[in-house]
């Protein structure tokens, strides 16, 4: 039950996060195309890489404050113009994309002295040893 509620909350957060990033991406694209700029041109003016412009416009990544200011300056608009219409998230959670990715190769349980700090998913801690984390950095509980 608690797990289902947690999943529902995560899905709602993911949807809200997606709406925010999409709206921001739409705003950036609208301002860019309004100036007749290509992604490459905007990247050059903003001294960012084209990949970063692309990721923002495709709502795959959000900008930090400095990048927001740089983009606004490059597009000759107030930062508020790029934030127009964005809903306000009520909380902060880990990235919803995290679960989609496979982890890097695991190298077995991580030990610190006699304590197992981390057990990769699918493996079991040694009997008698105290494991304080499991799977993705302890999210699975001991």
């Amino acid at each position: 039950m608690a797990s289902r509620e947690r999943n529902t909350g995560q899905q709602a957060y993911a949807a809200e996060r997606d709406r925010i990033l999409r709206r921001f991406g739409v705003n950036v694209r609208a301002e860019r195309t309004g100036w007749g700029l290509s992604q490459e041109s905007l990247a050059r003016v903003a001294r960012l890489h084209r990949t970063e412009i692309s990721l923002v416009e495709r709502a795959r990544r959000g900008p930090n404050l400095l990048t927001l200011l740089i983009l606004a300056h490059a597009l000759r608009v107030e930062p508020a113009a790029l934030l127009r219409g964005l809903p306000v998230p009520l909380e902060r959670r880990p990235s919803p994309y995290a679960a989609r990715r496979r982890t890097a190769p695991d190298r077995g349980p991580l030990r610190l002295g006699g304590t197992i700090l981390y057990v990769p998913d699918g493996e079991h801690a040694d009997a008698g040893a105290g494991a304080v984390g499991q799977g993705r950095g302890g999210e699975g509980g001991a």
Binding site: E40, R47, L48, H49, R50, T51, E52, L55, V56, R60, R61, G62, P63, N64, T67, R92, R93, P94, S95, Y97, A98, R100, R101, R102, T103, A104, P105, R136, G137
Partner: protein, 73 residues
């Protein structure tokens, strides 16, 4: 800029976590093979990326930072 462009590729969720140098170069062709290779070398030297056989991937630390939504542009 090279390092930023490379690690953003390595953290993409629509690609296998392992990348070859050729794949990275083809995704960011404007940088050129040498710049991609140099940026990658710096990322590996600092532990942001790791090599595995003939491939490279984001380190677990980098992925966890990203999972925690701490990596913005």
């Amino acid at each position: 800029m090279e390092e930023r462009a490379v690690i953003l590729q390595l953290l993409r969720d629509d690609h296998d976590e392992r990348w070859t140098l050729a794949e990275l170069v083809s995704e960011i062709p404007d940088l050129g093979r040498r710049a991609v290779r140099d940026g990658l070398a710096r990322l590996v030297a600092e532990g942001v990326a790791v090599t595995l056989d003939e491939c490279v991937l984001a380190s677990r630390c980098a992925r966890r930072f990203d999972d925690l939504d701490l990596i913005g542009l």
